[in-house]
Structures are given as structure tokens and as C-alpha cells.
């Protein structure tokens, strides 16, 4: 059986095209079933960056045509953006995808879960089951053995990582959210995922602050009273649309006395800025604005790209292993036939000798069974190994045909 991949990704298709062939989970499942019914096995991987159909089949052209037509039926303009890969190249591509090497942000972690979800929703057999399991393994290995996924890849992740540089564990750290917009909420969510808690939401409009605070189970405050909360907060995340400074150095200095030396980390995501830049000069206060965070993200993306070379080596090794395994499948039927024929001969000869073995005790009979089985196994061991080795070196089909011819196995194909 062969593996064919037909797909479209952010490399060759703009979002306007990709969104037309994007498949929801249930649709992906249905498409995989439909293709599997025609070809044998199929998995449909659809994310915001790609829609890819993996098919395992005996008839490569028919399978490719079927997979291509699934995508072109949804968007005829896609023809020039489609790519088609088979066998080893398809495996390497999937392993790179699972490792995040084909993503916009190298090493991003979400794709591994998406590959797993696609695998679970797919109609898999021996080939695609092995391919996707190995892809998941390769993705995990690339992340654990390199630092490709370690550094933050977004502004909110960078803010959270910097907060950890100040506090270490963020468990129980109190966040003061200034402004109730989406931007500050997103940054706060990243801190929340690392154990921090949103203690207070402050906003010019109290209703909006209350609405957001209720979602997080925190308190709401009008913007004028944020100084009251500064003494207790550990992290301040600010993103209001105010044209003026919302928090001044003097306010932070006043609160600092009550903080008994505890550090304060401030994130200013607003443009124009909400927080007085001079706050950074206050002892124990660390202020980062949007430019600072973007610089940190750019640096960490550079680090991810440097790690990508090591991750590429890992996925290439995995792809080679898959190729070897797939090639060994060419000789498996011949090996199975050979062993079945040998066993048939052994049983036949034992049956013929039954009359002469009549006087043997049960124990002696078991010994004869064992000895003959061992002889057959030893005779076939080396040819089996050699055929598998030949398969890995691409001569497998020739060897398999030779074995079938020499042992008269043609009828068992």
C-alpha cells in the first residue's frame, strides 16, 4: 500500500482560499470516511493554516484523484495551490507538521493536538495508524529534545514568561486588570493559565468592568481607584483607550511603601500608553510596554528558528524509520506464505510418519514436534531477515518474487 497526501497550506494559499476548504471536525470525519470507502484508509487534517488529506491505498492515481476532487469541489480556484506528496515525502511532511516545523510560528504547540484530533477522527488501518502514531511521537520528541517550543511566541505569552522571571511560580499572584477590553483580557488569560488570579478589574465604565469581573470571579473598580489596589497587586495589565496616562509614577511610589518590598510587574499593552514610563525607575517595579514585549517575541522566534535545525534532524530520522517499515510491508506477504508452506510441509511429514511414531510416549511426541518446529524456524530465520533488509534497500519486491518462484508460492498471492 502507498500513502498519498493532497493538501493546501498557508505556504501557497491565502486565507481567502484556505477558509473555503477548511473542514469542521464532523466534516473532516465524514470526508475521511468517504475517501476510505473508495481508497482504503484516510485522515483529514484541517486547521486554520492547512487542509490536508492523507490516503493509504493500492491504486495511487485513483486515490489522488479522489482526494483532489474533494478539495476542488469546495473551491475550484485552488488547483494551482494544491500540493501532492507520496510515501516518504508525505510522511516527512506530516512529521514536520506535527513538530510545528511547517507552522507560521515554528514549534507552536497547538498543531500536535490538531494532528491527534485528525487521527482520532480518521478512518485508519495499518498504514495510516502507524504513520500518525509516529507523527505524534516525532512531534513530542522534537519538542522534548530541543527548545523549539520553549520561548514565548506571542505578546501575551511573553508577558506571562516575563512575569515568571520576576515571581517564579505565578500560583496565587494577584492581577489588576486595567481596562476591560479584549487585549488585556487575552494577556490576563495567559497569566491565569499559569496559576495567577485576576483580583480586580478596573475600567472607566464600571458596568463593563463588572461584566468582565463576574466572568473571572473578581472585584470591579472604577479607574480612579486603582491606586487603592496597587498595594496588593503583583501584576498590572493595562490596555485602555485613554489618550492620557492612567497610572503615574507618584501613585506607584505611594503604593510601594505599603508593599514591603514586594516586586510589581506592569504590562502596558495600550497605544497611546496607559502607564507612566517613569514607573520602571521605581525600585522593585518592572514596566514593559507593547514595543518591549514585541522585541522579546522577535528574539524568541529567532531562538525557535535556530532550534528548528535540530528538530528537522529528529523528524528526518523518524521519516526514515517509517520508510523502512513501509518498505518491509512489500515482503511481509511473501514471508507469511513461505512460513505457512513450511509449516504445511512439516505437519504433512509428521502425519506421514505417524505410523512409525505410534510407540512414542506423549512426552517424546512433544519433543519431536518441538525439534521439527525448531528446524523449520532456524531454516527460515535468515531468509526472513535478509528479505526485510532487502525491502529496506528497495529490493524487497525482487526478493519477494524470487522467494515465491523458488518455493512455488505464486498461487498464494
Amino acid at each position: 500500500m502507498r500513502v498519498t497526501l493532497v493538501g493546501v497550506s498557508h505556504h501557497g494559499a491565502a486565507v481567502e482560499l484556505r477558509e473555503r476548504v477548511a473542514l469542521r471536525h464532523e466534516e473532516a470525519k465524514a470526508v475521511a470516511s468517504q475517501l476510505a470507502a473508495a481508497a482504503g484508509e484516510a485522515v483529514c487534517l484541517s486547521t486554520c493554516n492547512r487542509t490536508e488529506l492523507y490516503v493509504a491505498h493500492d491504486e495511487s492515481i485513483a486515490a489522488e484523484v479522489a482526494a483532489t476532487s474533494v478539495l476542488l469541489e469546495r473551491e475550484p480556484d485552488l488547483a494551482n495551490a494544491l500540493y501532492r506528496l507520496s510515501d516518504e515525502a508525505a510522511a516527512l511532511h506530516l512529521f514536520r507538521v506535527a513538530a510545528g516545523l511547517d507552522s507560521l510560528v515554528p514549534g507552536e504547540g497547538e498543531i500536535l493536538g490538531q494532528v491527534r484530533a485528525a487521527f482520532e477522527a480518521g478512518s485508519t488501518g495499518a498504514i495510516l495508524d502507524r504513520l500518525f502514531r509516529q507523527a505524534l511521537y516525532a512531534g513530542r520528541k522534537a519538542r522534548s529534545q530541543t527548545a523549539i517550543g520553549e520561548s514565548p511566541a506571542s505578546v501575551s505569552a511573553a508577558a506571562a514568561a516575563l512575569a515568571q522571571q520576576v515571581f517564579g511560580d505565578l500560583d496565587g499572584r494577584r492581577i489588576l486588570l486595567v481596562g476591560a477590553g479584549k487585549v488585556s483580557e487575552q494577556a490576563a488569560r495567559n497569566l491565569l493559565s499559569r496559576g495567577a488570579e485576576i483580583a480586580v478589574v478596573a475600567n472607566r465604565t464600571l458596568d463593563r468592568a463588572t461584566e468582565l469581573a463576574e466572568r473571572f470571579g473578581s472585584a470591579a473598580l472604577p479607574l480612579e481607584r486603582i491606586e487603592d489596589e496597587l498595594a496588593r497587586a503583583d501584576v498590572v495589565v493595562s490596555s485602555t483607550s485613554s489618550p492620557e496616562i492612567v497610572l503615574r509614577r507618584e501613585q506607584v511610589e505611594r503604593a510601594h511603601r505599603a508593599r514591603r518590598g514586594r516586586p510589581l510587574f506592569l504590562i502596558d499593552l495600550a497605544v497611546p500608553r496607559d502607564l507612566d514610563p517613569a514607573i520602571n525607575e521605581v525600585d522593585g517595579c518592572y514596566l514593559y510596554d507593547i514595543d518591549d514585549l514585541e522585541a522579546v517575541v522577535a528574539e524568541s522566534l529567532g531562538a525557535r528558528r535556530r532550534e528548528a535545525a535540530a528538530a528537522e534532524r529528529i523528524v528526518a530520522e523518524e521519516a526514515e524509520q517509517f520508510r523502512t517499515w513501509q518498505a518491509s510491508l512489500d515482503v511481509v506477504p511473501a514471508i507469511a506464505s513461505l512460513r505457512a508452506r513450511a509449516e504445511e510441509i512439516r505437519q504433512g511429514e509428521l502425519a506421514k510418519a505417524e505410523a512409525r511414531l505410534g510407540d512414542l510416549s506423549e512426552a517424546e511426541r512433544r519433543a519431536v514436534e518441538s525439534v521439527t518446529a525448531q528446524i523449520v524456524n532456524k531454516l527460515l530465520h535468515l531468509p526472513t531477515i535478509r528479505m526485510k533488509e532487502a525491502a529496506a534497500a528497495a529490493d524487497g519486491v525482487v526478493y519477494a518474487d524470487a522467494v515465491r518462484h523458488l518455493f512455488g508460492l505464486e498461487d498464494e498471492r
Partner: protein
Amino acid sequence: MAELLFWPALIAYGEAAVAYVGVLKRPQLATRLAIWGVRIGWLLQTALLAAEAWRADGFPWGSWAGALNLFVWLAVGAYLIWGCSPRYRLLGLAVMPASAALFAIAGLGGAAESSGSGLFVAIHVGLVSAGFAGFALAAALAGLYLWQERRLKQRSVGLLRLGPPSLVTLDELAARVSAVSLVLFTAGIALGFVRGHPLDLAVAGAVAAWVVFGAALLVRRELGWRGRRVAYLTLAGFALVAFLGLPAGHLG
């Protein structure tokens, strides 16, 4: 026997020091190599000190080289207890190259000499040396704190690259190490006074360092001082011991 142990221990410490420098390039591999270097080196040095103690008649580390050897063993031991983990690999960069260099100097300074002064001196010197080793580690932590704090203030773009411990962790660990070391140091100084040690420059330096470390812990506890100010106090206390107390103790 003791001489045979010196070189393997020095090689292990040297390997750890070089590996810690390598942390800047290959953090994970270098950290693993460094930690094993520290562990093996410390075990070998322990065996070296045990061999010296076995053959000595009296306190075996009376010479400056012997005292330095003991100090390195205590400092690396303190580092093994409090900081020898991947999380504190940058602390290793501060501790191990200096420890390897001091150990080499101690080895070149000659064999251990017995002072013949007995158990009392051994306990006194042991406690003071242990306190001093702890202060050295606390100073390394304070130095690392100031470096990391400065990078955070300056918004260095490579801030996340080396993964140093957080400011709060460094601050708390330095305080804990200082507190334990101060107890040992206090006991050592008290024993010296009981024994009738004369009031000289070494004692003045030790007492001044004791006051500074004690003050740092007091203001931390009572006034809530944290971070930079306490780190400067810790470094000042260590400087007093390093540049006044210890050399004067051996010159006097």
C-alpha cells in the same frame, strides 16, 4: 593517597566549570555534564579531605592552603544543597569556575599541615569556614539577583534565553542561605571568644561581617526590605569577610 585524589577532583571541578560556561550555548546538555562534574568532584574532594584528616595529628587544615581547600569543599557542598539543579545553572556559572580556581590554588599551595590544636580549634575553624562558605554562596546569589534585576529593568531582549531563576526565588534563597550561614558563623565566632582569641583585624572583620549579614536579615524581616538593597548588603558583608577577615586571619 591524598595527592592521588587531588587531580581527579580538580579535573571534575574543571569539567563542571567549563560545562557551566557551555550553558550559554547548549543549556540542557551542558547543565547535565556540569551537575555530574560537581557531584563527582565534591565526592573526590571529600575523600581527599578524609584522607588528610586520617593521617593528620590534630587539625589538618591549619595552613592557608588547607583552609582554602576546606572552604572550597564547604562552598561547593552548600551549592550542592541549595543550588545544584538545572534551574540554578547560572549560579553554577558564578560558583564553579571560582571554586575550581581556588581549589587549584589550594592544591598548588602544598599539602595539608596539622596545627596540633585539637578538637576545639577544629570545631571553631569548621564553623567559621562553613559560615563563610555559606556567605560566599549567598553573595553569588545576590550577584545573580542584581544581574537579573538589571536585565529586567533594562528590558534586555535576550532575557528569556538563559532561563535564570526568578528574582523572588533568588532573593528568598539568598536570605535562607544567609540565615543558616549566620548561625554557623555566630557559633564559630562565639567559640573563638570563649577560647580567648585575641581581638585583631580578623576578628574585627568577622564581627563587622556578622553585623552586616545580621542587619540584612533584620531589615528584611522587620522593615520588609527586599531585592536590590538586601543584595547590596549581602555583597558588602561578603566583601568584609573576603578582603578583611579571612586574609587577616591567616596573615595574623
